[in-house]
């Protein structure tokens, strides 16, 4: 039996010395190529779960396994984040001092890469996302939708297996939201990536083949359409 791409076992996460229980025992398993939506009310623990799956934080109890190996022990979290995971945030989190094309290269600096290929690859990604005319713009010169597209390009910079997006359309109007979702779904399909999207918009959640609902730090229901 082969292990799933990503597996969470009995994840618990407390904040403030355990006064806040953000996750109260979450187990799930995700296969390579899955497209999963996670939804739930605000404060239910969605972001916390995504951070643990993406190696941004460590659980108080339980473990995450990537290809059967434990994150944080068998796999170094920094290496995991830089090579296996592409993260997309609600607030974009671009670096304000860097141009779009430079922002996309930031994850590449974590790895040893030829600098000419870095710039070339960043340009290709931005062009693919329709930002050919925006390569040398700073984040403050871009619209919200364009910023999120730069952030998506950055997430793809090191050719990760996993794409994790935490409410990627939360700061966008409906038109831009639709565009970003279209892009993300397109990327997932064309590259066969594994994608997990946290959202509280039901239509987005409904469009995903698999949908996990979270409430009070627990999985409420998991629907799998297949």
């Amino acid at each position: 039996m082969t292990s799933p791409l990503l597996e969470a076992r009995e994840l618990r996460k407390g904040y403030d010395d355990g006064r806040i229980a953000a996750l109260r025992g979450v187990s799930l398993s995700i296969e390579a190529g899955d497209f999963v939506a996670i939804s739930g009310p605000s404060g239910s623990g969605k972001s916390t779960l995504l951070q643990l799956l993406g190696g941004l934080d460590t659980p108080s109890e339980g473990q995450v396994f990537y290809r059967g190996q434990a994150l944080g022990s068998a796999i170094d979290l920094d290496d995991y984040r830089s090579t296996e995971v592409g993260f997309i945030f609600q607030a974009f989190y671009l670096l304000p001092t860097l141009r779009a094309i430079e922002n996309v290269q930031v994850p590449m600096l974590a790895l040893r890469r030829e600098s000419s290929t870095r710039a070339q690859r960043a340009e290709e990604l931005l062009c693919e996302l329709g930002l050919k005319e925006r390569l040398n713009h700073y984040p403050h010169e871009l619209s919200a939708g364009e910023r999120q597209r730069v952030a998506i390009a950055r997430a793809l910079a090191n050719q990760p297996t996993l794409l994790l997006a935490d409410e990627p359309t939360g700061n966008l109007d409906s038109e831009n939201s639709a565009r970003i979702m279209e892009i993300l779904i397109g990327i997932q399909r064309s590259r066969g990536m594994t994608m997990i999207i946290v959202t509280h918009e039901n239509d987005i959640a409904a469009s995903a083949p698999r949908h996990i609902r979270i409430r009070d730090g627990r999985i409420e229901s998991g629907r799998c359409a297949s």
């Binding site: 993260f87 945030f89 974590a110």
Partner: protein, 377 residues
């Protein structure tokens, strides 16, 4: 043309976003390095002139008191010294410093009129003084500063002395000095029978002998003959005498304080920069940057501040040294000698200062938890 992002470019952009703060920090460390270059450079060229003074007169060894830095040797030891086989010539001398006018102070030498040390000087006017006479000779630089010439008089400690001659010195020290008869100086300074040191010229090194070993043997011979006294090679005496040591200590002490302030300036800048970039550091960590890489980024910014400050400081120091060489009070002892080793040291000091100052902010930045740093606002 695709713009490539390098590590150095990234840290440069981080510095350049706060132009004024970066500039002020660079000025701070620059002034500190400038003080270092000027003061240490000054004291070094002072020492260097000292050596040139020995070289121009051909002194190989100075015989001084064993224990005290401010040495006082019995003049009677001269006869014993002269009888030694390795000694070609030995001459007693007094060295002192005095205020000639409220603005001008000068080194004062007491020599005998027949001292071999006159060999290093050239008379430009007048004649050599005579022993036992109230006469002095002035270095040309000092004569110019005092607006005096041969035949004029000069008052020292209440005694009126005639300027017998003006000379061109072998070193800048002598160019700004007064030389007077040893016995007259002993009288004025109440030092009858005492001298600062004997300066000794050795006989030529016999062919086939190593000069170093010859010097060592001569030292041993002198010290054996004169218990309680020390025979110091001229090169060592040049760097290890009261006045030079004091100058070095003052230079290092003052520039250390300036550097400390400069370091605090960089530390403050880097601490503020790390604090206001908490979220950005969180982003870097979230994108897989390792701690050491974040630390390297912050340290490279701190080192760059030090480096640019160092270059600026060298310019400031160079300007100050030239100013010192131009001011009448200090012109006698500062031909602006600007050694490569001093420049290297200044750059080293500046970069090390930057790294030291950046260490704590870098460590703090690198050890932020990515999730906590991202939540920061």
């Amino acid at each position: 043309m695709a713009r490539s992002l390098s590590f150095a470019w990234f840290s440069w952009k981080n510095l350049w976003r706060r132009k004024l703060r970066t500039l002020l920090t660079v000025c701070g460390i620059g002034m500190a390095v400038g003080a270092f270059v000027a003061l240490v450079g000054f004291s070094r060229s002072f020492e260097h002139e000292w050596l040139r003074m020995y070289e121009s007169s051909g002194t190989d060894i100075a015989v001084v008191q064993k224990t005290f830095l401010n040495t006082s040797v019995d003049e009677a030891a001269g006869a014993r010294l002269m009888s030694l086989s390795s000694v070609a010539a030995a001459t007693p001398m007094i060295l002192n410093m005095m205020d000639l006018t409220p603005e001008i102070n000068a080194l004062v030498y007491g020599w005998r009129a027949d001292s071999y040390e006159f060999d290093g000087l050239t008379l430009t006017s007048g004649r050599r003084f005579r022993d036992g006479q109230p006469e002095v000779m002035l270095g040309e630089l000092l004569a110019g500063n005092l607006h005096k010439q041969a035949g004029d008089t000069l008052d020292i400690q209440g005694s009126r002395l005639t300027i017998a001659g003006v000379y061109h010195g072998g070193s800048a020290l002598e160019a700004g000095a007064v030389i007077m008869p040893l016995d007259e100086l002993q009288q004025i300074a109440s030092l009858q029978g005492k001298v600062t040191a004997f300066h000794v010229r050795l006989r030529p090194v016999p062919p086939g002998d190593a000069p170093d070993a010859y010097l060592k043997n001569a030292q041993a011979q002198i010290e054996a003959a004169l218990p309680g006294l020390r025979a110091v090679p001229a090169a060592q005496r040049a760097s290890n005498n009261q006045i030079v040591l004091l100058a070095h200590a003052a230079a290092w002490g003052t520039s250390s304080i300036a550097l400390l302030i400069g370091i605090l300036g960089i530390a403050n800048t880097m601490a503020m920069s790390v604090l206001e970039r908490t979220r950005e550091i969180g982003i870097l960590r979230a994108l897989g940057w390792k701690r050491w890489r974040v630390m390297l980024l912050i340290q490279s910014e701190a080192a760059a501040l030090g480096l640019v400050g160092g270059v600026f400081g060298i310019a400031v120091g160079w300007g100050s040294l030239h100013l010192l060489a131009w001011l009448p009070r200090t012109s006698s002892i500062t031909p602006p000698a600007f050694s490569p080793s001093l420049l290297l040291q200044a750059m080293g000091v500046a970069v090390v200062a930057g790294l030291a100052a950046g260490a704590i902010p870098a460590w703090r930045g690198a050890h932020l938890l990515p999730v906590e740093a991202l939540r920061h606002d």
